[in-house]
Amino acid sequence: MKEDRYLELDFTDRTSGFEMNRREFIKLTGGGIYILFTIGDSLDFLQERQGRRFQPNLPTDFNAFLKIGEDGRVSCYTGKVEMGQGVVTSLAQMLADELDVPLDSVDMVMGDTDLCPWDMGTFGSMSTRFFGPPLRAAGAEGRRVLLELASEHLKTPVANLVTEDGVVFDKTNKESRVSYAELAKGKKIERHLKEPVTVKKLSEFKIMSKPVTRRDARDKVTGKAKYAGDIHLPGMLYAKILRPPAHGAKLIDVDLSEAKKVEDVQIVREGDFVAVLHKYPDVAELALSKIKARFDKPVSDIDDKTIFDHLLKVAPEGKVVAKDGDLQKGKNEATAMFDETYFDGYKAHAPIEPHTAVASIQGGKATVWASSQTPFSVKEEVAKELGFPPEKVRVIPPFVGGGFGGKTRNLQAVEAARLAKLSGKPVQVAWSRKEEFFYDSFRPAAVVKIKSGITDKGGISFWDYHVYFAGERGSQQFYNIPNQSTIAHGAGWQGTPGPHPFATGPWRAPGNNTNTFARESQIDIMAARAGVDPLEFRMQNLTDKKIQRVLKTAAEKFGWTSAKAPSGRGYGIACGTDAGTYVATVAEVEVDKATGNVKVKRVVCAQDMGLAINPEGAAIQVEGCITMGLGYALKEDIHFKSGEILDLNFDTYEIPRFSWLPKIETIIIDNKESDPQGGGEPAIITMGAVVANAIYDAIGVRLFQIPMAPERIKEAMKGG
């Protein structure tokens, strides 16, 4: 089975990147032992993009490093950010283990563009997968350097030395010892990780692969953790920006007279860009409400109901993702054929922290604190906005209050920088919930059309798959189908509107949620027609051992017993792969036929993600995926009309609540010998199909559109 392609992130007009040369860089951070290394994802990313849309002048020799300081503390400098996914803990675990230092002595310095080398950003479940191996190797290399230094210092051959808790000692004479701090003192050693380095074997792990509680938890439970909105600079003003009522609306005229009367308010205007600034954010908001503005709203008949016809109309010729055999031959062999269409509407990221940024310009240098998954993009975008050279912009990401892909878009940081320049003061731009919904780069609406057929032996004879605007990720099917074709029409999320009425962006496992919903629903439809239990139908059409194993594991844990659907039990099953990880989910639902309300009672999820560095952290991510996935499966849908977003807060855009909570059981497959794979996204991809399949099993009604909201279920019951 081929791995999915996930490197879809594309920024417009990227011009330059990490300019500081290595000498300057190391001067900045003082003495010690430095191990420079590269993170694979960023390099792959660069190679992907070479000769395409941008040619960044970026280093290919290193993009992360670790430092063993003169005080014995170990610091890892990386452009990745912590946004709840727990890498601040799992990355530190790897490093501490390879270096043989206590976990407490490792500092993760993350995302600060002046301190850390360039990194493309934090998304795609890649931090552990692609950062993990070189980070561990760098740790091992650091340990090797320390052993060499200790050998000189203790006049003992390396072979006789062992390391433990930041100390090197002679295994024949424990009194002969020297600490890492002593070895690093007064040194300035720089090693570049090039050769493959031997890292620890599983049996040697002391910290990795063991559950550890979050390192950032104490700050987060005491209110000390600083998010972008918690940054307050002397003289700082809070800005509120005049927004159009709909996407595409143009400002006709504006009357600022009433807003000006608000005491101490400062109003900034540059063309259509109008903002009010005040030392208190709520007073700025009050002043904003006093602005009278008229807008010319575009007229369009595209809304959340007509969007699918529109998308199919504007869809470009497809790109072949996979092709095998002869579809016609497969059709001839089929004893039953299926032709179905699946729909998925726009979904908001809706992190509880809206986009926020603070910008300050002093002495020709801008400093920006931004809630962002891509601080190095912020740096570039801000530099471009201000007309500054990139080295005159520093971006510091504080804690990020949830991203899910939405914070790869950084408009708020550009706005803060623009206003800091215009007002001459430090400025905070904190989007309201309304702005967060309005300017979110939604998960794209998409359509999937599948034609398929089965034989009387229970095999799948052909598979003709067309995905429109969800993208390729997760589109490739993995069943044993001799005649098949998978074609992707249009990219998935697109940044700028393109075929959509507004911006679309990567949403936790981009594209794969839609593709897995369609594929796994279609498989169930075929199983039902064949009169075969949906688990058995899958098993008999699969040869991939990994996917079989997760299916079997989840089904066993659930207590699955064979039955043809609809059995009335409300059981559903679905599987898929994402970010190198294999996942199978079994769910039990209860459908209230009178109200159309679905209660997901129990979810069992088995995941094979290779080596789980922090098994507890991995389980938490799976639970998060399942809970968040219930939202798009059951309720989440952006309603809009003529560029106007109708869902602007949590009253109409309902995200999962405590009462939705099913009993969740997660199984992380013991596969420690394999490289670690993605953990932040995979388990969410099956949630649409597993719920759809369970609803069918409960009431014999098939849903072809997510979310499976009560009114849709009632509608489908009438039709069925």
């Binding site: 946004m83 709840g84 727990g86 509680t213 979050r214 950032d216 938890a217 987060k220 439970v221 005491t222 209110g223 000390k224 998010y227 909105g229 918690d230 307050h232 600022l256 000006k260 009367k261 608000v262 005491e263 308010v265 400062q266 109003i267 900034v268 205007r269 208190y280 954010p281 709520d282 992190p351 509880i352 922290e353 809206p354 804690f399 990020v400 209050g401 949830g402 991203g403 320049k421 215009l422 007002s423 001459g424 904190a430 309201s432 919930r433 952290g617 938490i620 639970e623 998060g624 995926c625 809970t627 968040m628 807060n649 949590f650 009253d651 999962p656 609540r657 405590f658 009462s659 909570l661």
Partner: protein, 179 residues
Amino acid sequence: MTPSNVQTANYLIPEEMKETIMQETIQFKLNGKPTKLAVDSDRMLLWVLRTDLGLTGTKYGCGENLCGACTVLLNNEAVRSCQTAVKEVQGKEVVTIEGLAKNDTLHPLQKAFMEHDALQCGYCTPGMIMNAYAFLQKNPRPSSSDIIQGMEDNLCRCGAHSRIVQAIQAAATDMRGGF
């Protein structure tokens, strides 16, 4: 120097035309300390806490009483500070997330949230903990479904719900002295 395209509204407006904001003196107890504040008393407590008083642990999430990120205690009741005018706290006692730990000793809820990994991005966490605090005052021996009901209006997007329920259950036991 003010850039030329900036209109600094204030000095352009004659004094008599300015909207005058009534500053009032509000006195209340904040995290155990008597606090006196000259403030426009119609302003919402959330912003006064976060800006005037520098207590940023209380978060903005929705501004409309829909998410619970701004929850604080007012006379031991959980209130949404985004919807509570400062004048409503006159003479009362306000506790924020910063006031929960005594010296360096964490409150059992804080400890339980840490031990149960009941948080991810951490942004909804202060509101969750404050809401749970008020809830446990009323119901010191809750069942899981009591907790779910009591926490229903606090939103979390990362999906830490099941661990939050476990943490509150554990904290309740701890607060009862282990019984």
